[in-house]
């Protein structure tokens, strides 16, 4: 069992976990992920490591409660335990001094972009972070990002903070100001990574994306996470998770991500019903004792 040292919501439905994992903390590098199971009948889900501390022996992950497993995970509190945790998995991010590095992130992708931005800065790059979200409340890790990069720019779909628009609009602004990125890293929801890759392909800026595929074992045994990159099938868990965004078949990956949409909805519904029952039972109990 793996102890949760600290759990706290950092945005609506988005929770940050500090988990005791000395071996993983010692080994992990930017871009790598873990696989966890919440309970003994749980599924295995991959989550990118946002931060770690080798001396104190912990890792940090940021989770948005979208489906059954992530929603269940987000009910866990400080002091609770995870059923299983394994890692670090995947190849570390290739970092070099490109010159100007722009890290574009959406949603919880910002937490995953953090270690890459920090490593990029340490390697001597000028690093600009572009953070995008639907609205002000969903912008996460802005302060932490500001600590490690040269400049942070924000965009929201509704204009509640930062530039009204998408991260691609902010990139265009940068270019219009005469800033020419030498390298782009895009991490976030698939449509966002696809849009960025489309934009940068036209203007010829190398772009790396971190693919979030469905996985089971995460060590190259099952092939659930396959994607097409440059016309070839790759296994995201051992060949990635980072790839040349200009070569990725986003349409195929998008439909593969929806492979279990129906089952996931069913599972999520079951979970919510169970939670509701539990809450009602607790309410009753409280009433009875008062």
């Amino acid at each position: 069992m793996y102890k949760i040292i600290k759990a706290e919501f950092i945005a609506p439905n988005v929770k940050s976990f500090i988990i005791e994992a000395p071996h993983i903390a010692k080994k992990r590098q930017a871009g790598q992920f873990i696989i966890l199971r919440v309970h003994e009948k749980g599924e295995r889900i991959p989550i990118t490591i946002a931060d770690s501390n080798a001396e104190e022996g912990w890792i940090n992950i940021i989770v948005q409660g979208l489906g059954k497993t992530s929603a269940h995970l987000n009910t866990l509190e400080t002091g609770d335990h995870l059923q299983d945790l394994v890692g670090p998995l995947g190849l570390p991010t290739h970092i070099e001094n490109w010159g100007t590095l722009v890290c574009m992130s959406g949603g919880v992708g910002t937490a995953e972009a953090l270690p890459i931005a920090a490593a990029g800065k340490a390697a001597g790059n000028r690093v600009i972070s572009i953070i995008g979200a639907r609205n002000k409340d969903l912008i996460i890790a802005e302060d932490r990002m500001a600590e490690v990069v040269d400049e942070v720019r924000i965009s929201t779909d509704d204009g509640s903070t930062g530039r009204h628009g998408l991260v691609t609009d902010v990139l265009q602004d940068l270019m219009d100001e005469g800033i020419k990125p030498d390298m782009i890293v895009a991490i976030g929801p698939l449509p966002m990574m696809a849009a960025v890759s489309n934009q940068t392909k036209e203007i010829g800026i190398p772009t790396m994306v971190s693919l979030n595929a469905i996985m089971v074992d995460g060590t190259g045994m099952c092939g659930a996470c396959r994607a097409t990159v440059g016309g070839k099938t790759v296994f995201v868990c051992v060949d990635g998770p980072e790839f040349d965004g200009h070569q990725v078949d986003f349409k195929e990956l998008g439909s593969r991500q929806k492979m279990y949409k129906k089952q996931e909805e069913e599972s999520h519904k079951c979970f919510l019903e169970r939670q509701m029952k539990k809450m009602k039972a607790e309410e009753k109990k409280a009433e009875a004792t008062s």
């Binding site: 099952c222 099938t233 599972s267």
Partner: protein, 485 residues
Amino acid sequence: MIRERPQSFNEVPMKERLTIPRQEMPEQDAVERSGNFLEVNLGLTPEQAVIEAQRCIECKKPTCMDGCPVSIKIPDFIQLICNQDFIGAADKIKEDNSLPAICGRVCPQETQCEEVCVMGKRFEPVAIGRLERFVADYAMNHGGSDAKTIEKPEPTGQKVAIVGSGPAGLAVASDLIKEGHEVTVFEALHEFGGVLVYGIPEFRLPKVILKEEVASLEAMGVKFVKNFIVGRTMTIQELMAEEGFDAVFLGLGAGLPRFMNIPGENLNGVYSANEFLTRSNLMRGYDFPEWDTPLYRAKHAIVVGGGNTAMDAVRTAKRLGAEEASIVYRRSEEEMPARNEEIHHAKEEGVEFMNLVNPIEFISDDQGSVVAAKCLRMELGEPDDSGRRRPVPMEGSEFIMDVDMVVIAVGNGSNPLIAQTTPEIDTNKWGNIVADDDGRTSMEGVFAGGDIVSGGATVILAMGQGRKSAIAINEYLRTKVGSTS
């Protein structure tokens, strides 16, 4: 070497033994079982086991042992069954094979011990596999003996790391713990057993059997560590230099599933056999949504391939409710690598066999899900490198069939993790670890066996390689002590 003959407890006169019919193992009804995941074979009764054991004619030169990759003392344990000493018989097997309940179920006895049984030349061979299974189960259900009777060896103070808890790793662990070494097994997944837990279905090998076998190794002193990926969580070098392991055995198993490289293979509903079986077996997808991992329940499933894995996959698809579950195989039934018993069971359960057919494309709907397979009919030409007749496409034979799930079961490549993280260990062009007959790799103190070396074989062959490596590791550790003291 002259073998001492076991004491005979068989009172049936020699001539009569030839007339006893081979005892059939009771099975779950075919229609009923094709709708559940309970074990198909039910095992011999004690009465049947004694009768079957009495069929053994106690050959002066028992060839059966030569047919066994781990040289179980078959005549000896059969005599103990004649004497109704079932636990004694189980212990006799355990001298050479630490996992009898598993091997009694999944070994291809018909091409090993039973194929060379002298009785089989004129009559039917003694059902050695069924007897092995019977005594192993009997011992398990009656408290066994294992750790209780086996004396704890003098500790050597030497540490061995075993990477992978599949059949090769478990065999090595069992042999080395008996030598007094400190043995730790590292497993990447959250359950122990490797292919025995993620690959072989419940209806062929119930998980409780595997858990018992692992527990008995634990009772003997083997340490088991799960959720630990050697190469990532810690490298081999770190295990040896920092954690003080004197030797390492790599039983990583097969790796990356092979695909056919045809259009449409990444459509939704197209699985590798590894993924489909892992979702069902390890993750219990057949109990979704009680268990969280989802799994397709197809109406028309096809499984491409003709090995045991293909049979496991197609029989799983049938149990998940497929109206039609078919094997699609490019050669004929004669060339199928699967065990006869598996083919026979699949047929009984209503699996269809489309032999001499090969898919060339999978077709999707507008949602990216597979809805049809385009196939060619094949005929057999001249023999190829494998000695089997090469399948050749028949001209103008293209046809399309409706399918809503495809499982590709055409074998595995190798796992790239160790090659990625341990360049000192030589691999061949297929990515398999290069090891000599005793499992020695190019890195000192590091041994390897099972599918990561052979590329894909059976449980018992992996165990056999593991046992050979265990002898070599023991030898290595002895010389290591000698050179440092």
